[in-house]
Each structure stands twice: as C-alpha cells, then as structure tokens.
Amino acid sequence: MRNPLRTEKIAFSLLFLATLLIVVPVGLTVVIIIQKGLPAMLNRGQAGIPAINWQFITDIPRQGMRAGGIFPAIIGTAYLVSGAIIFALPIGLMAAIYLSEYSRDNFLSRIIKLAIVNLAGVPSVVYGLFGLALFVVFFKFGASILSGSLTLGIMILPIIITTSREALESVPYSFREVSRSLGASKWQTIRHIVLPNAISGILTGTILGLGRAAGETAPILFTVAAFYLPQLPKSIFDQAMALPYHLYVISTQVPNVDEKIRYGTALVLLVLVLFMNLVAIIIRYRFRKKKKW
C-alpha cells in the first residue's frame, strides 16, 4: 500500500532538489566571476600583499584590447545609462501618475496596461532594430550616444512605469482626501502630498531601470556601440564603447585575450549592476521600516 506520508517526503525532497539546481548555479556564477576576475584588479604589491590595480579601470584598452584597461567602456555605459534615464524618468513617472491618479478602470486603461506588458516583453534585439530604423536611419542621428540612450530609455520605460505606479498607489487614499478637503487642487495634491510620499518607491524603480540599461547589449549593438574606440566620446553624437558590448567583443570576437581581462570585465559589469540592485533593495527596505501607515 502506498504511504502518503512517505510520498510527501519524497515529493518535498524532489522540490528541494529542483530549487538547489536553480540556486546553486547562481551562486557559482557569482563566485567564479569574482574569483577569476579579481586578479585583473590586483597587483602583487609590496611583500606579496595584493594591492588594488586601478589601471584596469582607469586606462584605455591597448594592443587591440589584449592589454590595458576598460575606462572608455565604463564611461560609455555611464553616458548611455544617464541618457536613458533622463529620457525615461519624466515620461515614465507621468505615465504612472496618469494610471494611478487619473485613469478610471475602463477599456483605455486596460489597453495601456496591456501595452506596458507588451513593451516589457519585446525582445531586446527588436529594440535594437527599432532604434536603428527610427533614431539612426530615420532621424539621422547616426550610431551615437543619443540613439543608444533613447533606445535604452524606451526599453526601461515599462520598469519605471510599473514600479512608480505601485509606489503611488501605496500612498493611502485618505491622504488625498484630506488634501482635497483642505481646498488643494488635484495636481497640488499629487505634487505636494502623493509624490513626496512615494519618492522612495520611484527611486527604487529608477535604479532598477538603470541597472537593466547598464547590462543590456542587444539594443546598443547597432545604435551606438563601437567595437574598439580607445578615446572618450566628445559629444552625444559620437559612438562610444560600452561595458556589456566590450565583454561580448573580447570574449567572442577577439582571439587570444588574456582570461584575466575577460573575467575582470565581467566582474566590473556584474558589480556595477548588482550594486545598483543592492541600493534599490536597501532603499525599499528602509522605506518599509519607516512607513507611517
């Protein structure tokens, strides 16, 4: 006869095993990158004590990317990410305000939400195609920081709208009622009551969007990324190197790159993205503790 308790034990063990199969590789991935990437950033200092080698982060790539540092790629990514957020934050925030404060639960808001879901689901390489067709070719911006930033900006729009909207909706309705009953207009209420109370949630979403934009490669492939450009971009109409594309290039397109440099680049990119996620998590956590309602 089958014993249901034994079946349960077996089933739960299998579930646990499945979970391990997912979580352990995540941990391994991070550990491998840190372990093999750190040597790129350490020098054998005095008396064998490793010292930080800033050259990898502050130098331009040399000898066809087989030596030197990754400074232009870091700067390029910084430009792209800033540009994306300058474009996406105002639009995304206002779209979130519309959804949470103005729209009613009707057909239009249903369509808007569906559009956001779809925007989030469009494959990243299709964003690249779109950026190429609209910004590079149609608007004649060429392959430039401007084109790349706008493409990334549209890509992170759904993240910013969704998180900001959640933040706005978590502000209690009574706050709005009190403000309106004191004679404030709808916009004054939003501006002075709702937004200040939702600011940390909005910030969290913004930083998550930044992290996403920093790590994406496919949207910038044809809109901005330069294969090898050992100098800094001078204007937003210049091409630029970018960290994720640089990692792709040195790991698949250029033969005989020192393993240390590959892992080092992966480490810098990973640390950058995880750092932003960590900041977002900390803000969210502190906000939850401080929450007054």
């Binding site: 559009a115 925007l119 195609l129 790590g215 990692l247």
Partner: protein
C-alpha cells in the same frame, strides 16, 4: 493669479495624459517601423518562401532568404529550455511558497532576484567558459556550442520569470482551499498536488508562457553559446542559430536599404508578433485569475 494656476494645471494634466498614452504610442511605433523596413523584403521573396524557405544565404547573389532554419533553431532551443525549465521552475515555486521556512524563503527569493539581475552577456560568457566545455566532453562532440548548451542556459535564464509568477499564482489561491483539504485528512503534499496546483493552473500557465517568451527573445547569451550555424538542425547536439542571434550577428554587416537589411527587419516582425501573442495570451490568463 488663479487663472494662471489653473492654466498651468491644465497644461500639466494634459501632459500627464499624453505620457499615459506613451506606452501605446511606443508599441505602435515599434511595430510600424518594423513593418516599414521589413515589408520591403516581400518584393523579392514571397511571404510563403520567406517563412518556409530552407536556405538562408542573405549575401549570395541572388540572396536566398528562407528563415525556416532559423525558426527551427529557435524552436529547438526553446523546446529544450521549456522541457528543463517548466518542471524545475514550478517545483521551485512550490518549494518557496509552500515548503520553505520564512528565512529560507527570503534567501531563495534573493537568489532568484540575483539571477534576474545578472546581464545576459555575463551569463553568456560564463556559459562559454563552463557549460560549453562540459557539454563537449560529456557527449564527446567536436564542439560544445550546441542547441543543448543554449537550451540549458536559456532554461536557467527563464527561471526568475517562471518562479516569481508561479509563486504569485500559488500565493493567490485562497487559504481556505488548502485548509479544507488538510481538514479532510489530506497530507500537505496531497493538498498541494490535488488542490493548490489545479486552483493556480491559469496563473501557472501564464508563468510558463512568459518564461517561454523570455527564452524566444533572449539574444546575447544564445548567440554566444549555440554556435551560430545557419543550417537546418537535425539534432540537439548540433550548432544552431536562432532568430534573435541572426539579427544580432548580421545586422552590423548588412547595408542599410539592402535586401539583407529588409530581411532582418522581417525577422524582427516575426519575433515581435510571437512576443505580442504570448504576452496578450498570458495577460488574459492572469486576468482570468484576478476575476
């Protein structure tokens, strides 16, 4: 004064409305620009031959623009990834939402979130240096850059989507269902298997669909580890090339306005339509659950 304030508010509120509509605008804009650049390819090749043509030699003279090998590549990799990720992902979601203690739950969720945050190019790189050599020695192959490597990697990358949405679905099953089953003498596992999973089925289905959507659209990692061979795949142990990887790998060399350029945009249309259908259907399932 008051009229100035009123007109300012009027402007702000109109601006908010416009931004509210921005996401619809962008989805339509993306589709229109894909159509504008992509439909031109059908002057040289019929839609039928484009989808079902068996050879993709875009730069030969005249170019052969059949994307069937690429579709098969995408299908093969996606199918493999789905076979791995659906059972594992749902099992993991059940473990997190039903079995794990509160503390373990937090740790596991953080781990899954961490995975979602890792850029795909970094995962592709790690796949190249760990997974690809492993597949090569495991199956005694001339190269480890195969559809199987891609499937394993993509299954891994679909996990955050599948686990988090499946977990939401399980969480939103009314507590009384489970309590009722337990009160009737069912074990915890029987309650999960017979009551919770069926009750959450439409949410689970949405989780699976969105996970698959993620897999089909994934570009960088799949380009780095599937070997990029644009021939009809016969087995999962051969190099293949997916729709996404074809665009990413070839658009850099395609001349703007050439047939190759138009064809890659037409591939983009195919991808857009697939992801659109998946997202709309998944949304319907999620909506059904909300009711």
């Amino acid at each position: 004064m008051i009229s100035l304030r009123k007109s300012k508010e009027f402007v702000v509120e109109k601006l908010i409305l416009i931004c509210g509509l921005a996401s619809i605008f962008f989805v339509v804009l993306i589709f229109l620009f894909l159509l504008k650049e992509g439909l031109a390819v059908f002057k040289t090749v019929s839609p039928f031959n484009f989808i079902l043509g068996k050879s993709w030699y875009p730069i030969s003279e005249p170019p052969q623009l059949g994307i069937l090998p690429l579709i098969m590549g995408s299908l093969l990799v996606t199918l493999g990834a789905a076979l791995i990720s659906i059972p594992l992902g749902v099992a993991c979601a059940v473990y997190i939402s039903e079995v794990a203690s509160l503390k373990i739950k937090e740790i596991l969720k953080a781990g899954i979130e961490l995975l979602a945050a890792i850029p795909s190019v970094v995962l592709g790189f790690i796949g190249m240096v760990t997974l690809v050599p492993w597949v090569k020695t495991m199956f005694h192959l001339p190269t480890g850059l195969t559809a199987l490597s891609g499937s394993i990697m993509l299954a891994f990358m679909a996990m955050p989507t599948i686990v988090s949405i499946a977990e939401d679905a399980l969480y939103s099953v009314p507590k009384s269902y489970k309590e009722g089953a337990l009160a009737l003498g069912a074990t915890h596992w029987q309650a999960i298997y017979r009551v919770m999973l069926p009750a959450a089925s439409s949410g689970l289905l949405a989780a699976v669909m969105l996970g698959i959507g993620r897999v089909i659209g994934e570009t960088m990692a799949v380009m780095m580890i599937t070997g990029n061979a644009d021939a009809m795949p016969n087995s999962i142990l051969q190099p293949v090339r997916t729709l996404t990887a074809t665009i990413a790998a070839e658009m850099g060399e395609a001349v703007v306005g050439s047939e190759h350029y138009f064809a890659l945009f037409a591939v983009g249309i195919v991808l857009f339509v697939i992801s659109f259908m998946i997202n709309v259907t998944a949304d319907l399932f999620l909506h059904k659950r909300a009711k």
